[in-house]
């Protein structure tokens, strides 16, 4: 563990951008965990009298059309957005990595079936598939997570399958088999942990995509139910006010959204450096 940390520090010091990304990630986590405790106003409290006020000392990000403090809402929304991102990524990973390694390891019919499922999903225009799933099942957080996980599934399958294929005849796998481990044990206990670093890179990259997907769904009207604050919905609502000059309603959640996705993308790149020196930037 300490060797990994030392190695990580070595890579990070040569790559300030990745260090920045880690820092940003820490900030986001902090906001997600402690957001509701440190928010200056109740994110749901409406007050028509103070609607549409520009950023000021009292309201750092201004207020929206119902008088709610935007800074508080952006802060509290971090938890929801990160939850959606994490949950969908983990779900996609569980489904995708497991079926992917099985496909890559066993080959034959397993590979064909898993491959066909992944291909069918990929044949859809992905965003429209997500829209269709949420529209059909109802727009709540669970379904958004499920929809996002489904459209990310093929990516994980592909990477997991390729990696498992490569390792199928590797030495350590042979050794595990010879020691008497059943196939399932070899898969879960040896191959899967071995490809974890690469999967983590994937997870980080798709995290950003999951947040953008949720934002896009909100823009169309299939996002989380109001009045819960969520970055995408806030941008969608704020979009109606850009023309009339109330730019802060859309800008701050939009900037935060961008920052979060940016952070995850850079994080993914950075993790790749730590994990796989051949692809280091």
């Amino acid at each position: 563990m300490s060797a990994l940390l030392r190695h990580a520090r070595y890579v990070l010091s040569g790559n300030p951008v990745t260090a920045l990304a880690f820092g940003l990630f820490g900030l986001l986590l902090f906001a997600a965990i402690f957001g509701s405790a440190i928010a200056p106003y109740d994110p749901l409290a409406t007050e028509a009298a103070r609607a549409l006020k520009p950023p000021s000392a009292a309201h750092w990000f201004g207020t929206d059309q119902l008088g709610r403090d935007i800074f508080s809402r952006v802060l509290v929304a971090t938890r929801l957005d990160l939850t959606i991102a994490f949950a969908s990524v983990i779900l996609a990973f569980l489904l995708g990595a497991l079926s992917g390694v099985a496909a890559g390891y066993f080959g034959g019919w397993t590979e064909r079936i898993v491959g066909r499922i992944a291909d069918t999903i990929m044949a859809f225009p992905l965003f429209v598939l997500a829209m269709g799933i949420v529209a059909a099942l109802g727009n709540n957080v669970t379904n958004i997570v499920i929809a996002t996980a489904i459209i990310n599934y093929p990516l994980y399958v592909r990477v997991a399958r390729a990696e498992a294929n490569i390792r199928r005849d590797a030495g350590f796998v042979e050794a595990a088999r010879l020691s008497g481990n059943g196939e399932a044990r070899v898969l879960l206990g040896h191959i899967l942990p071995n490809i974890m670093p690469i999967m983590m890179v994937q997870m980080s990259l798709t995290m950003g995509y999951a947040i953008l997907n949720a934002a896009g769904l909100s823009f169309i009207g299939l996002g989380v139910k109001p009045p819960h604050p969520e970055w995408g919905i806030m941008v969608a609502e704020g979009a109606n006010f850009i023309q009339s000059g109330e730019w802060w309603i859309a800008l701050f959640p939009g900037a935060t959204l961008m920052l979060a996705v940016f952070c995850f993308n850079l994080l993914g790149d950075g993790l790749r450096d730590i994990v796989d020196p051949r692809q280091r930037t």
Binding site: V17, D119, T120, P125, F127, A136, L212, I220, G254
Partner: protein, 337 residues
């Protein structure tokens, strides 16, 4: 070659079937009742039931599926509730609009991302490399509808450089006669420069919004591919032989690095074709994405099914074409297959 084609087609058929079944199920799961919509204001429950029978919606799900497949085989994709037109006609008129926009966006993105990627690979670790990484990652981190809205606000409303976001062509210019459906090509074919520039001006903002979003995968892949090629022995030999750096990079390295980039181009194209839904909404672009979104939100089955099917077929055709292109360009692939 033929074997390659046939084997690819064989794997594609199950995907298409899967798409048909999943789309059918999804649209049937959509909330909302086209019968109630059709029956209109103040219809009594009996009137709605009559209309439901007329639309065939009272049959069981497997029966409806059979009817759907029969219609598909005769080329009938149904009729849209919102536009009142047959879906096939709607898609045929709207697909060129989306395709033109997507192709232009892709072209723009490639024109920026590929040189950037090459430069970042050649000058690895320098500030250009970091800048490339930051710029492209920033581009892909912004929600594309947000970029679009911002562009429209800044360039049309504030700076007045761009034309009104009212669709493919200004209201007072007549579109060129229909040949391909691509206004840029059609207007050049009849030498109508007014329409050409008008169409190009309208395309600028939406294409730019989409291009920004596509920079990252292209630049990343170019850079990665160039890096791995530049590390190869033959490059070392070329350099050692005293060839000029420019020759080394373009004649030797780039040509070999370009193959994965083509694959990524194909992937990005099909991704964009589905994801341009958001851009089309912002810019009132009469494309297939906007058509599908409106239909989805109004539980209008037929256009959604038609749209998804069209996209799936396009995607599979495109992948096939890329595989074949690969086979043409890279003999190793041909031999393996």
């Amino acid at each position: 070659m033929l074997n390659l084609l046939l084997s690819r087609l064989a794997t594609a058929i199950p995907s298409v079937l899967g798409v048909i079944v999943v789309t059918f199920l999804l649209t049937r799961l959509l909330p909302g009742d086209p019968a109630a919509y059709f029956a209109g204001l103040a219809a009594t429950p009996q009137a709605v039931a009559e209309i439901r029978a007329k639309l065939g919606l009272d049959k069981s799900l497997p029966e409806q599926f059979l009817v759907y497949v029969q219609d598909l085989l005769s080329g009938n994709l149904g009729t849209s509730l919102t536009t009142g037109q047959p879906v096939t006609a709607d898609i045929l008129t709207r697909l060129p609009a989306s395709a033109e926009l997507t192709l232009l966006a892709l072209f723009l993105a490639a024109a920026i991302a590929i040189p950037l990627g090459v430069l970042a690979a050649v000058k690895q670790g320098s500030w250009i490399d970091h800048l490339c990484r930051i710029v492209t990652t920033a581009g892909v981190s912004l929600p594309v509808f947000f970029t679009g809205l911002l562009f429209a606000y800044v360039f049309y409303y504030l700076l007045q450089i761009a034309p009104a976001p009212t669709g493919r062509l200004d209201a007072f210019l007549t579109p060129p006669p229909h040949r391909t459906g691509f206004y840029l090509i059609d207007s050049l074919l009849v030498r109508n420069t007014e329409a050409f520039w008008g169409a190009l001006a309208q395309l600028a903002l939406p294409a730019a919004s989409m291009a920004i979003f596509s920079l990252a995968p292209l630049a990343r892949m170019t850079r990665g591919s160039m890096l791995s090629v530049l590390g190869g022995d033959f490059i070392r030999t070329a350099r050692a032989s005293g060839l000029a750096p420019r020759t080394v990079i373009f004649t030797y390295a780039f040509r070999n690095a370009v193959l994965p980039v083509i694959t990524v181009l194909g992937m990005v194209f099909s991704f964009l074709l589905g994801a341009n839904v958001l851009v089309e909404t912002v810019f009132a672009w009469p494309g297939i994405g906007l058509y599908a979104v409106n239909a989805l939100l109004t539980s209008d089955y037929a256009p959604v099914q038609g749209f998804v099917l069209t996209m799936a077929v396009l995607y599979i055709t495109l992948n096939l074409a890329i595989d074949l292109l690969y086979g043409l360009v890279d003999p190793r692939v041909r031999l393996d297959a």
